[in-house]
Amino acid sequence: MNASNIIVPIMSEVYAKGHKPEYLYWVGCAGAYDFRYKKVARAFVKILNYLNIDFAVLGTEETCTGDPARRAGNELLYQMQAMQNIETFKRYEVKKIITTCPHCFNILKNEYPDLGSNCEVYHYTELIQLWINEKKLPTAQNHQSFCTYHDPCYLGRANRIYEQPRTILRAMGYDIREMSRNKSFALCCGAGGAQFFKESEPGNKEIYVMRTEQALETHTKNIVTSCPFCITMLSDGIKSFNMEEEIKVKDIAEIIVETLGI
């Protein structure tokens, strides 16, 4: 499918023509439906197109990984979703999967193998760092500015991906001003464990407000992260301080597209 300057091959169409794409891009529910995060999915595809990466998406055949169900205790629903998805992977002989969402990444990489999946799973920051190292993707010509990077729990603590996002940001000309709690010490945005989909329990503060305060302490204009749910939570945090005009919450994929003008 070719629309508004991005090319998104659909797995069923490509496969029917006898081609097996190198990667499956797992878009995830946020990429498909979330108004804000659709832009990130599109930015990421721009990068894939720019690099001529051989990929496809499942499109209407993609369904929930089962992550929110599993983390809310519904193991039955999770396993049903997982078995269905694993069947789809087998049908299209999928070998490598790229995700933009850390939650999809974690569940596909760490949890699906228990149910028979044997795909290599990458978070896009891992591959982009690799492509930068291989000089496939150019780096920034000029120094941009500085930003702070919020570690998504399911990329950071859960899978120890701390350096790749930072390396990419530096390659894009950004200095990183770390929050007081960063990397393995990072505070959750408040969305994990299916919290995103429910009201929070009574307390004296919202978690996303606390994390936003920590980001504001760095006096940055750019809060960068690499998770759809973190983007929503931190954007809400910025709105609660009425600072959405001055301070932007962005995904790494958007930073790359902006910087390289692709």
């Binding site: 498909a32 760490n110 464990g193 989909f197």
Partner: protein, 424 residues
């Protein structure tokens, strides 16, 4: 056999018997719990070297971490002297391991330095406890008895170290060539007559060894049981990434039967599932129970928990403390009467729904725990019981389940719209 030898042997036997009874009681408790398999033994040795001996996780809080590491490494060195004291006591010998020569002098010398450093560390620990300067030592679950427990253990450690230094000091008065740098300095600062030193040495020797025996038997009933349980707990802890939850094989099994009913006839031994998830203590695995015995109530987990920090009721530390309390309450009765039921359970009477649903599964607690406890296991097991057995999920989540089932997404959007993002 001398009288003192006999007294020593009797107290040693009493200590071993009392300790064995405690261990047997715990063994019976463990037998009530569920199975959990452990593999990859080689990797586990590395884990112990790094996290236990290297104290890498405790150093994430640098100041308290350093004080703890000194105490821990000191204990390891001093343990050598304690073993010698037991040999001496049983066989009526004096300095039975001194045949090791230079090495012996080095170990005993470091033991002396560590005894002094541990005294300083423990005094700082006591002051921090008494003055309430450390926020993580407080919280709803931290009752008076928990603080008393901590202070008792700290006092015992302090007395152990003072008596050890007393021994070394008395010995250094009698003999100027002892290997003890600190104690020899003490003899210069506080000179004493040789005539009394011999008696002092004997008194300190007995105080030290008997305190060890007392300490060993108090520990299993205290939070300081971690002195015994933390290294095994690290050794047996998870090797998977923090983000990976365990797969419920019972569910996989049910699903396979649903999709392929013919399988039923092939199964010789049907899988007996007592309960999905965890409601009470007998539903947890032995590893989760060991976690509760290894918990030192240090509160590092709670201090980094996003829910706790924003005033919510959840405290990861409480999950472990309550598990241990509930086991102490229920297990003895369950052992007498397998069908015992007091209409109470860990879920509900100890841990409320409000606590369980406040967790973001961010893994900050597990990342921080110095003894590698995996708190999210308890949260997910309790949620699994609620959802799978009682069909209870916090408000919005029921809708999420329905959406995933019907549209393949947590939101109520049609699957046909999955590609709309391309044109957005």
């Amino acid at each position: 056999m001398t009288t003192s030898q006999m007294v020593f042997i009797i107290t040693l036997i009493l200590t071993i018997v009392a300790f064995s009874i405690t261990l047997y009681r715990l063994y019976c408790f463990f037998k009530l719990t569920q199975k959990h398999s452990v593999s990859n033994w080689g990797k586990r040795i590395g884990l112990v070297l790094k996290i236990a001996l290297g104290q890498t996780k405790i150093f994430r809080f640098p100041f308290a971490g350093l004080l703890h590491a000194i105490t821990f490494w000191g204990f390891l060195v001093i343990l050598f002297g304690s073993i010698e004291m037991v040999i001496d006591g049983v066989f009526g010998m004096h300095k039975s391991l001194s045949f090791l020569g230079g090495l012996y002098r080095i170990i005993m010398g470091f033991g002396d330095i560590f005894a002094f450093l541990i005294c300083i560390a423990v005094i700082i620990f006591i002051i921090r406890r008494i003055t309430h300067t450390v926020k993580r030592f407080d919280g709803a679950e931290m009752k008076h008895k928990n603080h008393a427990d901590a202070l008792l253990a700290l006092t015992l450690i302090l007395l152990l170290m003072i008596s050890l230094l007393g021994m070394n000091y008395s010995e250094s008065i009698l003999n100027k060539h002892t290997p003890y740098p600190i104690s020899r300095l003490l003899t210069v600062l506080f000179p004493a007559c040789k005539c009394q030193a011999h008696h002092f040495y004997t008194i300190f020797w007995w105080i030290h060894i008997e305190l060890i025996f007392v300490f060993a038997n108090i520990l299993p009933y205290s939070k300081h049981f971690h002195i015994f349980t933390s290294i095994p707990n690290v050794f047996l802890s998870r090797l998977e990434p923090l983000g990976k939850l365990n797969t419920m094989e019972s569910i996989t099994h049910e699903l396979q039967l649903m999709m392929n009913p013919d399988l039923t006839s092939n199964i010789s031994e049907p899988l007996v599932i007592k309960r999905f998830g965890v409601k009470d203590v007998e539903d947890v695995t032995w590893k989760t129970y060991l976690d509760s015995l290894a918990c030192t109530q240090c509160g590092r987990c709670t201090s980094v928990c996003p829910a706790s920090q924003t005033g919510k009721k959840l405290s990861p530390r409480k999950l472990l403390m309550d598990l241990r309390y509930r086991m102490n309450e229920k297990a003895p009765k369950l052992l007498k009467e397998p069908e015992f039921n007091d209409d109470k359970s860990y879920l509900g009477n100890y841990i409320s729904l409000e606590e369980i649903w406040a967790c973001t599964l961010c893994n900050a607690c597990a990342q921080e725990c110095p003894v590698n406890i995996y708190h999210p296991q308890i949260i997910i097991d309790l949620r699994r019981y609620l959802v799978l057995e009682e069909g209870k999920a916090q408000g919005g989540l029921q809708a999420v389940f329905a959406n995933i089932e019907n549209n393949g997404a947590p939101w109520p959007y049609s699957q046909a719209e999955r590609l709309n993002w391309i044109n957005a």
